[in-house]
């Protein structure tokens, strides 16, 4: 049988980042094909290349036997490819019917008036698909489930050979997911091939015929959904450390047995720091710098926290793994002292360093110099004031020291932050936040979007901060990159749907943690 969609050796780069690296992919007509991988594995890029939104740098996209070439979105649509984006592409002020008609040439006559009987055809199609769609309500007033139905109906109005869905379940509650899957099965029965991009294993296994796993832009495996276990998939998704974990950043198992952490336990730690940190006993290691007890946040943060307890000690790195969007941001804001919890007990140092997720929007002011960015942290301190004036000479001195200590590649501390490379920007943020607090440092995906070399450098800086000096800070490392967590952390916990699940030391391996990350285990607790 001819493939509904085939990708041959597709490579796609974004600047220095290779999002897809010679990926082959085949989709049979009538099958539901789950596409799995971590954040940044290349799933969405693959879908967008298949939809003609992105041009591949190398390789070929073939739809129903016909090469797509450079025909772009229009060409892909003409060949029967439809895509439902993670962020809906609907006009809020239009009704469902108007949204469906907007990009459907069949809705319009040659003279630009509404095609007679179009509404009936839309209703018939919706019924055929088993989609309950509100056609006469402004989309902006609909709930997310209804909006998704409009989006799907819109995608399926024409002749559809390939349906691409990017994380369609991310916005749905579990009971709503089943409804979506019923629709997908219906569409597949009608002969269309479906690519379902997702990162929740159990959901994909429930509906998919086959699954493909990508990791760091590379194809890892394709198999029958019935023939692979969730454990195997989890291992494939996060990488069990056999392939060197992505270009020399350091596999999960790298690093020798360190003796970091309190209590002098002799259990070997996974990936403790680098080899350059000689293990040395430090007085006051086990001094607690922060403690959360049953912290709950249901308002103010984007995703609630549910009964989170943790403590952080000096000189340790507490790794918090998890798929993005499970409450990590809320936790970071609470730890930074920026978000008071609804209930629970919070003990924090007076100042907390926070390396925020979004380096360029939140971590730095791009048009400010390095000095001025350092001043963001110190401008309120009496040490940097002379009467009513800000002591810019003092700030510049501190910034110059930071540039030196953090090995920032910049002409001087008067260089604009915006012209620095991502890695150097992150070093500035890291150094500044350490300046702000020698007690507690919260790092939120500190190497996201950095190339391999910069990743190594930033991780080394964070490890060095936590493990050197007489009074090292406690570090909370929040990351969806499991390699990073395993490489740097002394203790590990996993964040799932607003809950924090500690990982016992013997489970400090990609498989066990990966399974926790991708499970819904956080839900069972009372």
């Amino acid at each position: 049988m001819r493939d509904a969609l085939r990708l041959r050796g597709v490579t796609r780069r974004f600047g220095p980042v290779t999002a897809l690296d010679q990926v082959d992919f085949a989709l049979a007509p009538g099958e539901i094909h789950g596409l799995l991988g971590e954040n940044g594995a290349g799933k969405t890029t693959l879908a967008r290349v298949a939809a003609g939104i992105l041009q591949p740098d190398a390789g070929q996209v073939v739809i129903g036997g016909e090469p797509l070439g450079a025909r772009g979105v229009g060409g892909a649509r003409a060949l029967g490819v439809a895509m439902v984006h993670q962020h809906f592409s609907l006009v809020p002020r239009f009704t469902g019917l108007e949204n469906v008609a907007l990009f459907d040439s069949a809705a319009w006559t040659r003279r630009g008036t509404g095609s007679p009987g179009y509404r009936e055809r839309v209703e018939a199609r919706a019924e055929e698909l088993g989609l309950e769609v509100q056609l006469d309500v402004q989309v902006g007033g609909l709930g997310v489930v209804e909006r998704q139905r409009v989006e799907i109906l819109k995608a399926l109005m024409g002749e559809t050979r390939v349906l691409l869905l990017d994380e369609p379940t991310a916005v749905l509650a579990p009971q709503e997911v089943e409804g979506l899957f019923a629709v997908l099965r219906q569409v597949a029965r009608a002969g269309a091939g479906i690519v379902l991009v997702a990162h929740k294993l159990d959901e994909v296994l429930a509906v998919a015929d086959r699954v493909t796993v990508l990791r760091r832009g590379r194809w890892v495996l394709t198999g029958e959904a019935a023939g692979v276990s969730a454990r195997e998939l989890a291992e494939a998704i996060v990488g069990a450390g056999v392939d060197g974990g992505g270009g020399g950043v350091g596999g999960g198992d790298a690093g020798g047995p360190g003796t970091v952490g309190g209590g002098g336990e002799d259990a070997p730690k996974v990936g403790a720091a680098g080899a350059e940190q000689a293990p040395e006993p430090r007085p006051g290691d086990d001094v607690e710098v922060a403690r959360l007890r049953a912290v709950t946040v249901s308002t103010g943060g984007p995703i609630p926290l549910r009964g989170v307890s943790m403590e952080v000690r000096r000189g340790e790195i507490l790794g918090i793994a998890g798929v993005g969007g499970n409450g990590q941001r809320t936790l970071a804001a609470v730890l930074a002292g920026m978000l008071p919890p609804d209930s629970g007990e919070v003990q924090l140092p007076e100042e907390v360093g926070w390396i925020p997720l979004d380096r360029t929007e939140e971590g730095l002011v791009n048009e400010f110099t390095i000095s001025e960015n350092v001043a963001l942290a110190v401008h309120g301190s009496d040490d940097y004031r002379r009467g009513p004036w800000l002591d810019w000479a003092g700030v510049a001195e501190t910034a110059a020291a930071l540039v030196r200590d953090m090995d920032v590649r910049a002409d001087s501390s008067a260089t604009q932050a915006g012209v620095l490379s991502g890695g150097n920007q992150q070093k500035v943020v890291t150094g500044r936040e350490f300046l702000r607090s020698g007690e507690l440092l919260v790092a939120e995906s500190p190497t996201r979007g950095l190339d391999v070399k910069a990743t190594v450098a930033v991780r080394a800086r964070i490890a060095a901060l936590a493990r050197s000096g007489k009074r090292p800070p406690g570090v909370v490392l929040i990351s969806s990159d499991l390699d990073e967590i395993l490489e740097l952390s002394d203790r590990i916990a996993v964040m799932v749907r607003g809950r924090l699940i500690p990982v016992p030391r013997e489970d400090h391996n990609p498989t066990a943690i990966g399974e926790l990350m991708l499970s819904a285990r956080g839900d069972g607790d009372p």
């Binding site: 002011v365 963001l376 309120g380 604009q416």
Partner: protein, 349 residues
């Protein structure tokens, strides 16, 4: 792409924008059948031809532009798009007249500060409504400040036709303020008054505030990136927005008070030919730098002073000057963008 060349660009941009404006204006004048050389020469003579033309006309007309330009620059620096300097100026002028008229016997050292403070307070009050709408409800200040201008203009119209109309009841204007409330002359023998010096002092103070103090640093941070200010600066952006809004309104209100106390000595319809709007061009051409605003305000003051001479000596209608002012804004924006495009191309290549 050293930091040195970047530091030079604001002055270069402004110069390039002015040159571009002159070129386009020359072309348009030629198209309109006016010899551009004669027109520009007349304009220049009118603005700078004699000491008295410069001081009594150019600088006097630059004064309200200087103050409103500073008001706009301060607000824009904090990413507060205050388009309402015109309305705030009117509010300030009304308050100044009301206070000065209410204190007929008071000595100058009392009545002048009282007048100017009332003007500043009224300007801030006028700005507080859009500020509250922005910070409390997220209503965009571009619309609200702009609409508040019309409210202020109509209110001024109503007051000078009714409650505050002169006791003679002839013209739609207020009574003259008592002589003690007149601003003293700055340069003897000219019409330049203390208001110009006040403008210069405020420019210096704002410059010091923005570049040398923690509070000014916060304001710049909020203007550059409110998210970064909150997350990395750990302070709330909203109080900073309030401060910038109110201070901007106060300075614009002061412009109205200074004009009344220094030049017109009374309030009437059409007090301002749109200084509050020209102020946006003044501030943008100065790249929001308060010290540069002094220079750009004088440039626009010269345009205004030279416009009359251009009409008289070269027969070019004065409205052309308004067109030139508008061209300056377009030129600043265009030159800025093309510079950025060039710079990014250069840094990539």
């Amino acid at each position: 792409m050293s930091t040195r060349t970047r530091a030079l660009t604001p002055a270069l941009t402004a110069a390039a924008a002015l040159l571009a404006t002159l070129a386009v204006a020359a072309a348009l004048l030629a198209l309109g059948g006016y010899p551009p050389g004669d027109a520009f020469a007349a304009l220049f003579r009118g603005a700078f031809g004699t000491w008295d033309r410069f001081v009594s006309f150019t600088l006097v007309r630059a004064t309200p532009l200087l103050l409103t330009g500073l008001a706009v620059a301060l607000a824009f620096k904090a990413r507060v798009w205050n388009i309402g300097a015109e309305g705030q100026l009117h509010a300030g002028a009304l308050a100044a007249v009301a206070v000065a008229v209410a204190l007929p016997g008071a000595p100058g050292f009392l009545v002048i500060p009282a007048t100017l403070l009332a003007a500043a307070a009224a300007g801030a009050l006028w700005a507080s409504a859009p500020a509250a709408m922005k910070t409390g409800m997220g209503v965009g200040e571009v619309i609200t400040t702009l609409l508040m201008n019309f409210v202020a203009l109509f209110m001024a119209q109503f007051l000078v036709q009714g409650p505050l109309r002169e006791s003679r009841g002839v013209f739609n204007q207020t009574d003259e303020i008592p002589p003690a409330a007149h601003l003293p002359d700055l340069v003897p023998g000219t019409r330049l008054h203390l208001g110009f010096l006040i403008g210069i002092l405020i420019a210096i103070a704002l410059w010091l505030y923005l570049t040398r103090t923690p509070g000014g640093f916060r304001l710049r941070a909020v203007g550059a990136s409110p998210q970064a200010a909150e997350v990395s600066g750990r302070f709330r952006a909203q109080p900073v927005v309030w401060l910038a809004f109110l201070a901007s309104g106060a300075i614009a209100g002061l412009a109205g008070g200074v004009q009344v106390a220094g030049v017109t000595h009374r309030m009437y319809e059409g007090l301002s030919p749109g200084w509050g709007y020209t102020a946006i061009a003044v501030a943008l051409l100065a790249r929001l730098n308060p010290l540069a605003v002094v220079v750009t305000a004088i440039v626009f003051g010269a345009l205004s002073a030279g416009g009359g001479a251009m009409q008289r000596d070269a027969g070019v209608p004065e409205v052309w000057v308004r067109g030139i002012e508008a061209l300056v804004i377009l030129a600043v924006l265009t030159v800025d963008r093309s510079w950025q495009a060039l710079a990014s191309r250069g840094s990539r290549g």
